[in-house]
């Protein structure tokens, strides 16, 4: 009898795991402030209002998104320009149809923080140091290398090591890295607890208006679903209007979508929602990635943005 119960329980487990969701449009994104327009549109019911049955699926890593698009388990996604351009360079035919947020000189979302005892005070001190990034070749890594380059530091003298964003504060405190590039909510703690020194907000030193993430789909899906894309664009555009009229609405949307602790939500640096997207924005990223050898092959950006 007990054996029968065992097998029955096992069968039920299998059955519960095998139940699949009904077919609908799924948008994949990582949990971070850049896709703010999507979170806002989702929570305000704008996708539904424009006639799209869309579910936002949080994924744990940006680099998994192109494969998820190819396998059709998500149909559209908000990705970083580095993942997007690398996927295209590797022969995955993706196309972008909307922006999400852009950089401004006032943006404090990204910070370069040095350890108190690292001896780093000026950009020149970075030469030969060990620096922490979330992923080699990912957006923050590209931003840090570009900033070092702009400030006359030979990037090849520094050593870059990967670490997860939540562990960065402890790594810096323990002196395992001399400095790192991180996002606002983590930088705040390093600086307020006194073991980190803010060296720069790199977004303040690049031309304004760079695209933080793009909404993309495979070209085949985009060609087959122009009406759905138009509806998604309309919903995102309406969210942009809400964000421009009331930036605090972004804060609530980010707190909900990312399930952040309330104190973090309260002091998170708000991104600037701007859903326009141009080829020039992609070219800017591509040029830096090429300069630092972070993209292989050639990418024709002219065909990557849907009109």
């Amino acid at each position: 009898m007990r054996r029968i119960l065992c097998f029955a329980a096992g069968a039920m487990l299998l059955a519960s795991a095998g139940v699949s969701a009904a077919q609908q449009l799924t948008l994949g994104t990582t949990a971070n402030p850049a896709p703010a327009a999507i979170f806002l549109a989702d929570q305000k019911g704008l996708f539904k209002k424009h006639g799209v049955d869309l579910t936002v699926q949080l994924v744990t890593g940006d680099p998994t998104i192109p494969a998820a698009l190819i396998s059709d388990s998500i149909q559209i996604a908000s990705v970083t320009p580095t993942t997007f351009l690398n996927a295209v360079a590797n022969g995955i035919d993706l196309v972008a149809f909307s922006g999400t947020t852009i950089t401004t000189h006032g943006s404090k979302d990204i910070a370069i923080v040095a350890g108190k005892d690292s001896g780093i005070k000026t950009p020149a001190d970075f030469a030969g140091k060990t620096l922490g990034v979330a992923g080699i070749g990912a957006v923050l890594d590209v931003m840090l290398k570009n900033w070092l380059d702009q400030n006359g530091v030979d990037v090849s003298t520094a050593k870059f090591i990967e670490m997860t964003l939540p562990s960065m504060a402890d790594q810096l405190k323990a002196g395992r890295v001399d400095a790192l590039i991180t996002v606002d909510q983590f930088a705040q703690r390093m600086i307020s607890e006194g073991f980190g020194i803010l060296i720069a907000n790199p977004l303040a030193e690049i031309p304004e208006g760079q695209s933080a993430q793009e909404i993309v789909a495979t070209r085949a899906w985009a060609d087959a679903n122009p009406e759905t894309i138009a509806k998604v664009r309309a919903a995102i555009k309406e969210a942009e209007g809400i964000a421009k009229a009331d930036p605090e609405a972004i804060r609530a949307a980010l707190g909900n979508a990312m399930n952040l602790p309330p104190p973090v939500t309260a002091r998170i640096a708000l991104p600037v929602v701007d859903t326009s997207l141009s080829v020039a924005q992609l070219d800017w990223w591509l040029a830096i990635m090429k300069k630092h050898g972070l993209v292989k092959g050639d990418v024709n950006t002219a065909s990557l943005v849907l009109p």
């Binding site: 487990l13 299998l14 519960s16 795991a17 396998s71 562990s167 504060a169 983590f186």
Partner: protein
Amino acid sequence: MRANQPVIAPSRMSQGFDPRNLVLPVVVFAIAEVLALAYVPADSFSLAAPHDVAVELVRHLADGTLMLATAQTLGAALSGLGLGGGLGLVFGVVLGLSPAADRLMSVTVETLRPIPPAALIPLSLLVYGFGLRMELAIIAFTTMWPVLVLTRAAIRETEPGLIEVARVLRLSAWRTATRIVLPGAVPRIFVAFRLAAAISLVVAVTVEVVANPRGLGYGMMLAAQSLHPAISFAFLVWIAIVGWCFNWSLVWLERQFFARRGAE
């Protein structure tokens, strides 16, 4: 006959529960609690006090989050094990019975066997997308090899005298396999499944941490990314408990099937 020897000594669980086993965990919990109160700030993004972890564990058990995630992870682990273990068993028996087939397949088996499961994640994601199938495929691939190799070894180690007997009795190949070889190998094959089962859970959680947005690994990762270390640790503790129960039930099953035969 070999089959009558207990292959693995039934573990200490047969001696009943010893409360002294709890001393170490309780002491570690207490020390962690004191250290956390002294050194971990309440708003830490990477560490959490044990009592906060305990609260989150109870809360997520009560609201069903952990149960759903556990069903997803265990479902993938068990179905992957069923598929991979089944294939491993079939190939193991064939290769064990036929030295010619074994020689023919040896390069293939030895080339594919060391592929780390994590290396298959991008490929599986590309083919199957997010969801059960991608995870199942990787688990099946990973669990097939230990079952194949151990089954093959178990079959080969059949007492040569018994094969002689079969030959004298003019048993067909099929009857030799089902009457003589397999009964002797079954306890070892079960051990192979138990080892593969432990691997299946590890692989399931790994795939969920890295890519697949479902199950316990995903829940743990998402909690860490949304700056809730207590929830993340609660998932981790729960994964440990699930792993322990999983192994315990396999040892229990093994004893149900084989302990009595060993005592005969």
